[in-house]
């Protein structure tokens, strides 16, 4: 590519590398390496980034391990075909074992924070109350966490989005208002956002205050070492202590491990590889797990999609992808009742849209020709609260890579059906000409009655009703009781003294909101405690 259309934006990451940040691209190594540090952090997403900054700030030497590449604004060209392959796990085609749920998960420096849609919610109070009641998690109530939320909101410029929503989000506000339902404005972690709408492909203007632009540069400025394209294979442990972290350099393309090994010795080992990566790393390490907790209760906020055609242009590819949400069907959800769901709007770009819309041939083409009129809603099911919602289980394939087995049951399908109905009602209330719930052959319905009757009779089942997830949570839960939790309330692994987990895998249920701010706040709290413990 020439640089003819290169943006006039400075790239602070490339500048940092040029100015001497310690960055090792493991795919270029030709011989094994050994590194030492006070702390080694596996993963550079919301958990790893915050942890790195806090430990480096406290004066500790830090090594960060990242399986994905270091890419930054110069590389972010707003092209789906490139971005999904370069920045996402498994080319954005990661799926649950039976392929029923597609999982969008970042795999690059900054992890999910580099590619997320910037929606920032404090952990809902109801979720924290449930954690205290059901799992005995004390000290993590809304008031306890408030200072940590405030700190991270200030650090990452998290504030309500004051620009008018794009038409895709506005229709959610209009439709809910006409039905007497609640909706509200989303807070976003942006500074000087130009309202382009391409957050999911990496922010080309450095407006998104991701880990890539905030915490990781701060840690690197203080001398931390970042190793990219290195896969953490296993913790080597003896007795009650981890002795080393063993990593494999990835190949130049970043998809397969090579035979080149890196070994990192540290005082503290921190797993921040996300809620599929961290449990998989712990399973590969064969760490003591007497109660078989690792990898169980992994949650996804399984999301169902509803596509409508509006009379006017929606152009859902343009403008902040998420700025309005509705908790109408979440606020009153009980842990012993039907599953609750959060309503949001997604960005509408050609590749993601075309792969999401069901069917093929003329029917699919007809919907795509109306691309500019497409209005899309998603409903995120709050999994993990009801006894019949236990999420999935992370297991290892023969080659040690993770597979998430997430069985779908009637409890969940009931939520899917109610969510499809609610979304269709809202879309018709907002003026939709037709609504096509993403299911089966993708039939569109001309009015609310037709749609709700049809939804009632849908035969919902895996792959006939595609589900999606952009939020992976759980699998190494926090809690005081080792019989039910992997890590204690300080984030220390219950059975090894110097192993810590600081990422979304800590959550004992799903969050019931986009999880990045929940991870940031928990990481700030736990990493601050870790820094104090390392000083002692």
């Amino acid at each position: 590519m020439t640089n003819a259309s290169a943006p006039s934006y400075l790239d602070p990451v490339r500048a940092g590398v040029a100015n001497g940040w310690k960055v090792i691209d493991a795919s270029t190594l030709t011989s094994p390496r050994t590194l030492e540090a006070d702390a080694v952090i596996v993963g550079t997403g919301a958990g790893g980034g915050v942890t790195a900054e806090i430990l480096a700030d406290a004066g500790f030497s830090v090594v960060l391990i990242e399986e994905g590449p270091l890419k930054s604004s110069t590389d972010f060209r707003m092209r789906e075909a490139d971005a999904y392959q370069e920045l996402y796990q498994e080319s954005a085609a990661r799926k649950t074992r039976d392929k029923a749920i597609s999982i969008l998960q970042g795999r690059c420096v900054g992890g999910g924070t580099t590619v997320n849609w910037t929606s920032s919610f404090r952990t809902p109070p109801a979720t924290l109350v449930h954690w205290a009641r059901a799992f005995g998690i004390e000290g993590f109530g809304s008031d306890d966490l408030a200072p940590w939320f405030e700190r991270m909101e200030a650090r990452l410029s998290i504030a309500p989005w004051t620009v008018p929503p794009n038409a895709n989000n506005a229709a959610l506000a209009i439709g809910t208002a006409r039905l007497g339902y609640r909706s509200a404005t989303i807070h976003r972690n942006v500074k000087g956002c130009r309202n382009l709408g391409y957050c999911g492909m990496g922010c080309p203007t450095n407006a998104k205050q991701s880990m890539l632009l905030t915490a990781i540069p701060a840690a690197l400025d203080r001398g931390a070492t970042l190793v990219t394209r290195a896969r953490a294979i296993a913790f080597e442990w003896r007795g009650d202590r981890v002795q080393a972290l063993l990593c494999a350099a990835m190949d130049a393309q970043g998809t397969a491990p090579t035979t080149i090994r890196l070994s990192i010795r540290a005082r503290a080992y921190v797993a921040c590889a996300g809620a599929i990566g961290t449990p998989a790393l712990l399973l590969r390490s064969g760490v003591p797990d007497p109660h078989g907790i690792i990898g169980r209760r992994t949650f996804l906020h399984p999301a169902v999609v509803s596509a409508a055609l509006m009379p006017e242009d929606i152009d859902g590819f343009s403008g902040a992808p998420q700025s309005i949400y509705s908790d109408q069907f979440l606020d009153n959800a009980r842990s012993d009742g039907p599953i609750g769901f959060k309503l949001e709007a997604p960005p509408i770009h050609p590749l993601l849209t075309a792969t999401t819309l069901p069917n093929h041939g003329p029917l699919h083409a007809k919907h795509m020709r109306e691309f500019r009129h497409l209005h899309v809603l998603i409903a995120l099911l709050r999994d993990g609260f009801h006894p019949q919602s236990n999420g999935g289980i992370v297991r290892l394939a023969d080659d040690g890579t993770p597979i998430l087995d997430y069985p779908l049951n009637d409890y969940l399908w009931n939520g899917v059906r109610r969510a499809m109905t609610a979304m269709a009602e809202i879309q018709f209330a907002a003026g939709a000409r037709s609504v096509a719930p993403v299911h089966g052959g993708g039939r569109a319905f001309a009015n609310r009655r037709e749609a709700t009757d049809a939804i009632e009779s849908f035969e919902l089942r895996p792959l006939a009703t595609p589900l999606f997830s952009a939020h992976v949570m759980g699998g190494a839960p926090l809690g005081p009781d080792p019989r039910h939790a992997a890590v204690d309330l300080q984030g220390r692994y219950h059975h090894l003294a110097n192993l810590h987990v600081i990422d979304g895998s800590l959550f004992p249920t799903s969050i019931g909101a986009n999880p990045q701010l929940s991870i940031y706040a928990l990481a700030a709290k736990l990493a601050t405690g870790l820094a104090a413990a390392l000083k002692a």
């Binding site: 393309q253 998809t255 792969t355 093929h360 041939g361 795509m368 890579t401 006939a464």
Partner: protein, 126 residues
């Protein structure tokens, strides 16, 4: 793939002429590139799937054709895709899903597809 792409993208591709044929070829190149970027695990699964679809009994029972794929008619392939999509067998629905994702990502990730759907491409940053 050369047989399946034009059927899956019927009415999405430019009308049948040289441009149409170039779009099919371009889509197949994009599919190959996308497969090249997958993990070894994913590539293994795809190889397994394509092997499954090439088995003669699968062709007979799902496509109801004795032709090998390159010789099957568009109607035969469309009917075959419909049976995969609506199959009672999860593995066959997964096969449909994989083909669907590969083909639609390859075409709609390509700027050549954008004019027809009214998408002007990413904005300038100037």
């Amino acid at each position: 793939m050369a047989a399946i792409v034009p059927v899956m993208l019927a009415d999405s591709l430019p009308p049948a002429n040289a441009v149409h044929d170039a779009a099919v070829r371009g889509t197949i190149v994009n599919i190959d590139r996308a497969i090249g970027g997958l993990s070894p695990q994913q590539i293994g699964e795809l190889a397994h799937l394509f092997a499954l679809l090439s088995l003669a009994p699968v062709r007979w029972s799902l496509a109801r054709t004795a032709h090998t794929w390159p010789d099957a008619t568009a109607d035969e392939i469309d009917a075959f895709l419909g049976r995969l999509r609506d199959s009672r067998i999860g593995l066959l629905r997964a096969a449909y899903d994989a083909l669907h994702q590969l083909v639609f990502a390859a075409w709609y990730g390509d700027p050549h597809s954008w004019t027809a759907i009214g998408y002007g491409g990413p904005p300038g940053l100037g």
